[in-house]
């Protein structure tokens, strides 16, 4: 409204202004009259609860047009019901949302437009109370359309009253939030799922703010690994929990992450609360999360893996050692075998002796190097005569487990004794008998004793030359178990006897006694 400044044109302006004011006064009077005579049916006012409609009486063409224009603009669906819940108005958005034209809908009961359901028990009661006490309600509900589609709805309902203030209907402003709900649900599921991963992971996970380099979250596994509580970890930098050397290393990690997106440390010593150390592998990634970036550090306890690597290394070294040792033994056997005896039978004799060693190895491996049971050793070394065991070869002794060293030496001795018996002794005839006995003596100076006694074979003569076999059953066994052997070539048969301190021959830990 302009205020006239010029005195010449002032009068004219005043006349115009006056007539405008008169018009507005008339309009106001007309409005008041209309309200009084119920000609204005609705007044839409924006409120904090969304658009509100007051009064709804009389439907002259002018106000109908005015009301229609206004309400049609509203993007939310609007439905007004009068008595008996019958539709008296719905806007374009409502027509679209529910699939009814205005002409179809008007006059119908509201429950033919949509079926109403409540998300939680008690919701309906709350809504009714609010409507009764405050005349309005806002909240969420479910609308089931006539095509059976369920819509998530956020709506605002206002009680409409007549001029005397008596409730005459309701106006519902309806917003379809189905999409939003679906999205929220997806986000919720995703959040729950990843939270669960985070909470139950068997890797430590730290979330770090790249700007401050401080920990903003840590999973339970991480807190367990370090011995700090969640609250103690949050706000700390990595070097403060001993994961990185110092602040400089921490800065370096962040700049490396910004450059390449990932940083990996194969083996870091992690300092536990209280000073303990743990070997860990750290993989850090820089992620964009909405419009900010975060660092995720996965920390894996590798002490178990290192232990197992060390164990494998140790085993490999041990296997290597044993293999080489055994090859050295084979080398010595080859040398000794070659030195004595008939060159024509060298290969046979050598291969028999190597077989004897191999049999002993099998038994040791079977028992994980915890020694060999005497009966197993005898049976294995006399495998050639297994049909005779129990008849012409008699074994008698308790369960005693020999050490690996004793088993090798005694095994070789048994092999030599059996070879000799088969060639010249009790097993060279059809009736000879071999008795193999062993036992442990108790008390002070406890000993392991073993005897090989042949009877019933051809008449025995004392050999003129002592070969390698003789050394094997004699001084080699003595040396291996720090024992004493005795060999007798009596006419009725060969006998061999071994006495050794229990501790040198018997694996007492592995013994079944």
């Amino acid at each position: 409204m302009t205020e006239s400044m010029c005195p010449d044109s002032g009068m004219e302006a005043l006349v115009i202004e006056n007539s405008r004011l008169n018009m507005r006064l008339l309009e106001a009077e007309e409005t008041l009259r209309a309200i009084r005579s119920d000609e204005v049916d609705a007044l839409v006012v924006q409120s904090a609860f969304g658009p509100k409609l007051y009064t709804l009486q009389g439907l002259d063409a002018e106000t109908l047009r005015f009301r229609g224009d206004m309400l049609a603009q509203v993007s939310d669906a609007l439905i007004a019901v009068g008595s008996e819940d019958r539709i008296i108005y719905l806007n374009a958005a409502a027509e679209k949302l529910y699939g009814f034209t205005q002409s179809e809908a008007l006059g119908r009961p509201l429950d033919q437009i949509y079926g109403l359901q409540w998300p939680r028990p008690g919701d309906e009661e709350k809504a009714m109370t609010s409507l009764q006490e405050l005349g309005e309600w806002r909240g969420e509900s479910l609308h089931i359309r006539r095509d059976h589609v369920t819509l998530n709805i956020e709506s605002s309902i206002t009680i409409l009253r007549d001029e005397k203030g008596i409730p005459s209907g309701r106006l519902e402003v309806i917003r379809d939030i189905t999409e939003r709900k679906r999205h929220e649900h997806k986000v919720l599921i995703s959040e729950v799922r990843y939270r669960r991963l985070f909470e139950t992971a068997h890797d430590g996970i730290l979330i770090i703010d790249p700007a401050t380099r401080q920990i903003i979250d840590a999973n339970p596994f991480m807190t367990q690994m370090l011995g700090y509580s969640h609250d103690q970890l949050v706000g700390k930098e990595l070097f403060e929990i001993g994961l990185l050397r110092d602040e400089e290393a921490s800065q370096q990690m962040v700049s490396e992450l910004k450059r390449s997106g990932q940083v990996r440390y194969e083996n870091l010593p992690l300092e536990r609360k209280g000073g303990g150390r743990q070997d860990v592998e750290v993989v850090a990634n820089l992620y964009e999360e909405n419009d900010r970036s975060v660092i995720q550090c996965n920390i894996r306890d590798i002490s178990e893996r290192r232990r197992s690597e060390e164990h494998v290394e140790m085993l490999m070294a041990e296997v290597n050692h044993r293999a080489k040792n055994l090859l050295a033994v084979v080398q010595a056997v080859a040398y000794q075998t070659a030195k004595q005896g008939d060159p024509a039978t060298l290969v046979t004799r050598l291969s028999e002796r190597i077989n004897g060693l191999s049999v002993g190895q099998d038994l040791l491996v079977k028992n994980q190097w915890y020694g060999v049971d005497v009966a197993d050793l005898v049976t294995a070394q006399l495998a050639h005569f297994k049909d005779l065991i129990g008849t012409r070869v008699v074994l008698a002794g308790p369960a005693v487990r020999l050490t690996a060293e004793a088993a090798q030496a005694i095994g070789m001795a048994l092999h030599e004794l059996a070879t000799n018996a088969a060639k010249y002794g009790a097993l060279s005839s059809q009736i000879g008998l071999v008795t193999i006995g062993w036992h442990l003596t108790s008390g002070d100076g406890a000993r392991f004793e073993m005897q090989w006694t042949e009877t019933g074979g051809p008449l025995v003569t004392v050999p003129t030359r002592k070969g390698f076999g003789h050394s094997v059953i004699g001084r080699l066994v003595d040396a291996a178990v720090q024992g004493k052997t005795e060999i007798k070539f009596e006419p009725k048969g060969v006998s061999w006897r071994l006495q050794a301190p229990v501790g040198n021959a018997v694996n007492l830990v592995g013994s079944k006694e």
Binding site: H321, K324, A328, Q331, A479
Partner: protein, 136 residues
């Protein structure tokens, strides 16, 4: 190789070798072979305690040490020999990286199974070196 003649010309008397080896058969074979090569056997020890006793009696000029004696390191024997100034060679089934015990010092290390001629060469080398150092 003619070990006997060579040895007799080089040395006034036969070198006495201590064999520290837990594998009786290997020790036995070494004894025979070393005698053939003109050495005298000072003793055979299959266990560390026995080896330490023999070293303490100082009856040998040179020693062959198996690095591992029935699961026990022979490093203490190496230390005792070093203390007495007795040269030795180390024989082991472990690879060089595995026998890192400092007590073995810079003694020659041979891998099992080892060739007898290489072993004899090593024994002679350490003996010669030792005698040379005594003359200085």
């Amino acid at each position: 190789m003619k070990p006997l003649e060579q040895d007799a010309s080089e040395f006034h008397r036969k070198a006495r070798v201590l064999i520290v080896e837990d594998e009786a058969l290997i020790a036995y074979t070494l004894e025979e072979l070393l005698v053939e090569f003109g050495f005298e056997i000072a003793g055979v020890a299959g266990r560390l305690e026995v080896a330490l006793d023999m070293i303490a009696m100082a009856v040998c000029d040179v020693a062959i040490l198996d690095a591992n004696l029935a699961g026990v390191s022979s490093a203490p024997a190496a230390a005792a020999l070093t203390k007495l100034g007795t040269p030795f060679v180390v024989v082991s089934g472990y690879s060089a990286a595995q026998q890192q015990d400092l007590a073995f010092g810079d003694a020659p290390r041979l891998q099992k199974p080892c060739d007898i001629e290489r072993l004899v060469e090593s024994l002679r080398a350490v003996l010669t070196h030792h005698r040379a150092s005594l003359l200085q």
